[in-house]
Amino acid sequence: MNVVEIENITKTFGRVTAVNDLSLNVPRGSIYGFIGPNGSGKTTTLRMIMNIIYPDSGRIRIFGEEMRGSSADRIGYLPEERGLYKKMKVRDLLRFFGELKSGRNVDRQVDSWLKRLDLGDWAGKKVETLSKGMGQKVQFISTVVAEPELIILDEPFTGLDPVNVEAIKNAVLDLRANGATVIFSTHDMNVAEKMCDFIFMIFKGKKVLDGTLVSIQDKYGSDTLRVRSQGGISALQDLRGVDKITDFGGLQELRITPEANPQKIIAEVMTRTMVYSFELAKPTLYDIFLRIAGPDAKEESYA
């Protein structure tokens, strides 16, 4: 069953079409990653799911129903830009948000989350005394403390150090294990690749990718050849069947054309220089992202 069903929604702001005829289904219990460059429509889409703004046309169904006031109580929402009452004490603030959503006492959840994210000592302090990272964790707790069934996180990892990224990531995975459905947007392709069951990419308001990582990669095939060699980038120039070379210094990534034979290309490289290692791989999400939205991206229509 799908927790979120979006049918052909369009949203314009003045002359700008932020979201263009978008459809999407988010299955229950999945982690759905939203990726896309800045200004591509991610936040607008998430806000429409939250019913904070309304689509000009199309339909959104949450838990099988068109959004009404009450369904918002079953959704936890972490907006991209954090907002906390600065003068409130951390525990009071979390209690306020939790009770606002759930209508019941959430003291137990508040304490357990504070402990889990290492904020126990800060419970009685005012929000304005927290560091940015701690504030972010408090905001995360405020999103999940009411035990929502659907959790929407807009850029949950920006501004966090690796330790805290790990902590939030594990928390998200646990929430999912307990039955929650998670949608999050991110710029970190690594995180998206590792965490998400499904990946959705939006570009200029349109859906350009939607599916599991494997299905997305399959669409592109094994078209990436990673090579470590003595000659480096200079030994790889003007190879037939190679579309593009990305130089990472010690490693080069060659994108080969669909009709080319990777064996032949490797053989050719070996005649030019000493090859330490090579690997034929599917493109990474990062690479796919750049192919669609990067500066060299070709204008094409994505199905």
Partner: protein, 440 residues
């Protein structure tokens, strides 16, 4: 409703549980009643140093009168009979022979003595004061008082009475009236200000009219009026700023993930309302208690207080919704500042019109103004509290108007708020705000 109450509670506690609120509660009446209270408190703080006034009596017969009157006054008023403490300055008169050859030089000399502090003032009495020629501007029958602050000097008033009484008496005697009758002839009878005679509801007896004092005629309406003004400043005014700040700090978006914009606005406005009602209750209860203790209970306007609370309730909701809506439309602290003043028109305009309405509460101007919904709460209250009273239907008609207008402004505010709270960039132009209100 649950969410509105939840937010209301947060807003209320956030406002009330601060030191600022307590300080404001104490400071507001001080600032508002400012000079009045200061004067009341400082009324005993007069300069009790003796005041020496030089007298140049060209008439030749008033010196005696002044000295005698001063002696009597100094005996009566200078020391407190009970405590023996000096509470007023003694008036000391230094009689000088008027210079005839160089009168200006003499006056300059005396002025310099006033300047250096050895003299408080000097008085010059013209030679013909007993027989003035009314309508003519002749220096021979003028009396002049020279001092640093002559216009508001209490000694000048005192001299006014003493000298004129004596002059009138002398004129009467001159025209052949027996001196013993002059007291009666000059007796001044004050016109008493009285309220209306009424029937006691309980006993059916006709009650004597109450003597109305200035306090009742002016103070009660003014105090209630200012109290409402203060409560609007305390409860509604901060809504513009706080809505804007919550928008700026993105708290708005977090809350909108949990509640509708209307619930959000309602929670904030009702929170402000509770703050105002708290403040008003403290003041009203405090004032009633104090007046009771001071034996002034008859001045407590029990018939007006319920109206005060009803109008305050609606005023805060009416203005608060619009202020919150305007706050939601702002993107810049400057916008918020610029909008504050026009947003407060419904309370500032009655403020400017306070005096004319107080003097003529039943004039057509005051009546129509008080029936114009944005002004009704403050002006109707002012008129209702005035001792002359107003027809019984008027507060009710005003109430109906305010009720309708309040519903309209909540609706309008809600529409603007819904769009404005998420709208980033661009100043809050009136045309944009109107478009949000009517087209979404």
């Amino acid at each position: 409703m649950r969410k509105i109450l939840k937010l209301l509670k947060r807003e209320y506690l956030a406002a009330v549980k601060t030191k600022g609120f307590i300080i404001m509660l104490v400071l507001m009446p001080v600032v508002m009643g400012g000079s009045g209270i200061a004067m009341y408190l400082l009324r005993g703080q007069v300069d009790t140093r003796d005041k020496t006034v030089a007298v140049l009596d060209r008439s030749g017969f008033l010196t005696e009168t002044i000295l005698k009157a001063a002696e009597e006054r100094n005996k009566q008023a200078v020391t407190d009979k009970g405590t023996g403490k000096k509470v007023q300055p003694a008036y000391v008169f230094e009689i000088m022979a008027p210079e005839t050859t160089d009168p200006q030089g003499q006056k300059l000399g005396l002025s310099n003595r006033v300047r250096d502090g050895s003299l408080h003032a000097f008085l010059e009495i013209g030679p013909d004061v007993l027989h003035p020629k009314p309508g003519e501007d002749d220096p021979t029958f003028l009396i002049s008082y020279y001092a640093k602050n002559a216009a508001v000097d209490p000694i000048r008033n005192w001299l006014n009475n003493v000298i004129n009484n004596e002059l009138r008496k002398k004129r009467l005697v001159e025209s052949g009236i027996d001196e013993s009758r002059t007291g009666e002839i000059l007796f001044w009878i004050q016109v008493n200000p009285l309220g209306l005679v009424s029937v006691d509801q309980a006993t059916g007896e006709i009650q004597e009219a109450r003597r109305t004092s200035e306090a009742e005629a002016v103070l009660v309406p003014i105090i209630l009026f200012f109290l409402m003004f203060m409560m609007v400043m305390m409860g509604a005014m901060p809504l513009l700023q706080s809505t804007f700040e919550e928008k700026l700090q993105r708290i708005a978006e977090v809350l909108l993930g949990a509640m509708t914009p209307f619930e959000f606005m309602a929670g904030k406005v009702l929170g402000g309302l509770c703050v105002a009602l708290t403040g008003a209750s403290v003041y009203v209860a405090g004032a009633a208690y104090l007046m009771n203790r001071l034996g002034l209970a008859r001045f407590i306007p029990f018939d007006v207080i319920p109206w005060f609370f009803v109008f305050l309730f609606l005023e805060i909701i009416m203005i608060g919704s619009l202020l919150a809506a305007l706050g939601s439309a702002c993107n810049d602290p400057k916008d918020a500042q610029n909008l504050t003043f026009p947003a407060m028109f419904p309370v500032f305009i009655p403020m400017f019109l306070l005096m004319p309405i107080l003097q003529e509460p039943t004039s057509a101007f005051a009546t129509w103004l008080s029936l114009f919904p944005p002004f009704t709460p403050m002006i109707m209250l002012l008129r209702k509290a005035s001792p002359s009273g107003i027809p019984a239907w008027q507060p009710w008609a005003g109430l109906a108007g305010v009720l309708i207008f309040t519903l309209f402004s909540v609706w309008l505010g809600g529409r603007i708020f819904r769009v404005g709270i998420l709208m980033q960039g661009g100043p809050p132009k009136l045309s944009r705000i109107i478009r949000w209100a009517f087209r979404g």
